[in-house]
């Protein structure tokens, strides 16, 4: 789902840009089933361009495995700080990852990024649904009542994420890729403490 990735990169670029401008250190850690190429620890305004280049080079990976990624992350980064976890959280193990972050003493902002079509699937009828990460198939008929149930399941899924974030005193912010970016970034900045 490229648009979702692009949208996440835009938000993270903005957040990273501000962080570097305020002399904070920033590290970008792309992941799928494992941690991919990690950026250097960036600090200072002179590294802003490097940050943007790094983000723009991030490409789609394979299936997400958040718990494994989190183990790798905690193994490499001991210094506590703010972790902005940008994901669609379409991984049954995301709760484990959040718990690990919490117990390791990291502050976390769960940035939930979704495509608009995920919220309201545009397809109907007899379909062969294919998981874009795992490649799994499911033949089913998407009728209006099935779509209604899908929306319920979708809401339950993220309601659980929100509950978990609250329980761990972590931030949770949901965005869809068709939302206006500027207003969204300001909102995220305020929620995450970048702006007051």
């Amino acid at each position: 789902v490229p648009s979702k990735l692009l949208f996440a990169k835009q938000i993270l670029a903005a957040l990273g840009y501000i962080a570097l401008s305020t002399l904070d250190q920033v590290t970008v850690i792309p992941f799928d089933r494992q941690v991919r190429d990690v950026s250097d620890i960036l600090a200072g305004q002179g590294r802003r361009l490097e940050l943007l280049r790094f983000l723009s080079d991030v490409e789609l990976g394979s299936k997400t495995d958040l718990s494994r990624v989190m183990r790798q992350f905690l193994g490499r980064f001991r210094r506590r700080g703010l972790v902005i976890l940008a994901s669609d959280f379409f991984d049954p193990e995301y709760a484990v990852a959040l718990r690990m972050l919490h117990h390791a003493g990291f502050d976390c902002l769960a940035l939930q990024v979704n495509d608009a079509e995920e919220v309201d699937p545009p397809f109907k009828g007899e379909l062969d649904l294919v998981d874009c990460e795992s490649g799994e198939h499911l033949s089913t008929r998407v009728l209006p009542d099935a779509k209604k149930i899908y929306v319920e399941e979708w809401q339950n899924h993220y309601a659980q994420l929100a509950r978990l974030s609250r329980a761990f005193q972590q931030g949770h912010f949901a965005v869809t890729s068709n939302a206006p970016l500027e207003a969204l970034i300001l909102n995220v900045f305020r929620r995450s403490g970048f702006l007051r």
Partner: protein, 564 residues
């Protein structure tokens, strides 16, 4: 239900091709469209909750195919031209009553109603089963043209030969004829299906007894504009020798104002032209004088008819013909001395009056057109015509019996449709006394005081008589114009078969026929009837409509993704 198009086997073959095609397309369509989703687990949960297409949901998947197959089946059925016939069984008997009255000459567009009716009859005949028996009855005059029998070429030829008449129809009488045919067949084949199929323009009301008869009514035509001549007559002018008074009535039977030129001619020689203008539903009477023309043919014609924004639909009532009255002398035997009677007779120049002795009428009757008798009647009246006043002395051998006297009777009822009372009003007539009589057979009360006849007619085949039960001197009747008219009418009626009189030939379309709006029948058809009716109906339009409905349902379900 029967098929009148392709036979069932060929229909199956025809249906096979699109059916197989639809099934093949459906099978190809079963390869589902692929859609990429971000998280299949959510959809797996959905499937778990909704189910994977069991029971009715499986049917929904195939609904598209079912709809398409039903669509093909309906189209194929339409090609087979199915007909639904109520009481459909072998050996039906159907009497077709074809309205051929004058109103069927009315034009519906470019075709006469009768042509439309005949085409409809031909269409019905073509769709009958070979074992059905048919008969043809027409309404003008009511008669059986073809009795019940198989539908042969001669029957079809008889239908082709029928023409619309120029006289009023008698639908009720025609249906009675039809019923008689069916009754005769019913007695031979009890339990067989039968019925009457009437094809008419509805200008006549159906009789009430039809409720008990299985029937179907086909109507042709609708309300249209019409101007027509509804009455034409000529009488000798009593006040001016050798002249004739001509009476014409014109009616407007439409809903718009109409104008025309009324042209009158005798033997082709025009003697009067007058413009007439009539509002919707109105009648107009005109009288004219013309010179007497012996054995002449009087003709009235409506010319240059203009109706606001419409055409005159019926042409046959625009012309009327009548014969001119004869100028021959009428020989009257007078056995009366009443001065009023004598004065009335003397005023008519055509009458040659000869005095008679009533007691010797049997021997003195010398080819009188009519004999006027006052008072006592002879014991025996020879064949002939009689006008009798105050038969106080007895009734002779006429079928009536004088019993006593009625004091001060007044006229409560009279029949102005009888020729003897035409144009006679008895409204203000006062009578001091009248004979009280008991009428026998062959008599008709023409005017009465409740149930007591005051004027009556006798017609036993040999003798005709108009009897006035009171002495004119005992009433104010002679002071009314109707008195003389009654005497003249009575003489004309009783002498109808005498050599001195001649039958009047008239050809005027009845006003009922000129009124070509099918309102009467329509109103009656609207009434509920529990009687069984023949239903003989083409079903292919219904098949096409159903197929179209299925097409719309398929379209709707596809676009709402109920089916795919």
């Amino acid at each position: 239900m029967r098929l009148f198009g392709l036979p069932p086997l060929r229909l199956l073959v025809v249906a096979m091709v699109p059916t197989l095609w639809a099934i093949a397309l459906y099978m190809l369509k079963l390869a589902n469209k692929r859609e990429s989703v971000a998280y299949l687990l959510l959809w797996q949960r959905v499937v778990k909750r909704v189910g994977s297409g069991r029971g009715l949901r499986r049917f929904e998947t195939s609904m598209s195919l079912f709809l398409q197959l039903a669509f093909i089946a309906l189209l194929t059925l339409a090609v087979g031209r199915p007909r639904f016939a109520g009481q459909q069984q072998a050996g039906r008997a159907i009497v077709f009553v074809l309205d051929n009255s004058a109103s069927m000459h009315a034009f519906e567009g470019r075709k006469e109603r009768f042509e439309i009716a005949r085409a409809r009859l031909s269409s019905l005949l073509a769709n009958l089963a070979d074992s059905d028996e048919v008969a043809l009855v027409v309404t003008a005059p009511p008669s059986v043209l073809v009795p019940l029998g198989p539908r042969t070429a001669s029957f079809v030829a008889a239908v082709d030969r029928v023409r619309a008449a120029e006289e009023p129809g008698q639908l009720g009488e025609a249906v009675k004829e039809a019923r008689a045919l069916l009754s005769a067949r019913q007695s031979l084949h009890p339990g067989s299906a039968n019925g009457v199929h009437i094809i008419t323009d509805g200008s006549e009301a159906l009789p009430q007894f039809l409720d008990s008869l299985p029937m179907a009514v086909d109507t042709v035509g609708r309300a249209r504009e019409n101007l027509g001549i509804t009455a034409l007559g000529a009488r000798l002018n009593p006040s001016l020798a050798n002249t004739v008074r001509v009476f014409v009535e014109v009616g407007n039977f439409g809903t718009r104002r109409g104008r025309a030129d009324l042209r009158l001619s005798v033997d082709g020689h025009l003697f009067a032209v007058t413009p007439v203008e009539l509002g919707p539903g109105s009648r107009l009477q005109r009288s004219f004088s013309t010179a007497l023309s012996e054995r002449g043919e009087l003709s009235a014609r409506l010319d240059r008819i203009t109706i606001d924004g419409a055409a005159d639909a019926l042409a046959v009532d625009d012309v009327a013909n009548a014969s001119m009255p004869r100028n021959g002398e009428v020989k009257i035997g007078l056995a009366a001395t009443n001065p009023f009677i004598v004065s009335a007779l003397v005023a008519q120049s055509r009458y040659r009056i000869e005095p008679l002795d009533a007691a010797h009428i049997a021997t003195q009757n010398r080819d009188y057109a009519a004999v006027l008798i006052e008072g006592a009647l002879p014991a025996q009246l020879p064949p002939g015509g009689y006008v009798i006043f105050a038969p106080t002395g007895g009734a002779g051998d006429l079928p009536m019996r004088v019993t006593s006297t009625l004091a001060q009777p007044t006229f409560t009822d009279w029949r102005d449709d009888h020729p003897a009372l035409r144009s006679v009003s008895l409204a203000d007539v006062v009578v001091a006394r009248s004979a009280k009589v008991v009428l026998g057979s062959d008599t008709t009360a023409l005017a009465s005081f409740f149930d007591e006849p005051l004027i009556w007619a006798v017609d036993d085949g040999r003798r005709r008589a108009v009897v006035v039960g009171f002495d004119p001197s005992d009433s104010n009747f002679p002071l009314h114009a109707g008195f003389a008219v009654l005497i003249y009418n009575a003489i004309a009626w009783v002498s109808a078969d005498s050599p001195a009189s001649a039958p009047e030939r008239t050809r005027v379309i009845d006003a009922r026929e000129s009124d070509i709006a099918p309102t009467k029948l329509s109103a009656q058809r609207g009434s509920p009837s529990s009687s069984p009716r023949f239903i003989d109906r083409e079903l292919w339009p219904l098949c096409l409509w159903l197929a179209l409905a299925l097409l719309l349902i398929e379209w709707w379900t596809y676009h709402t993704r109920v089916t795919s």
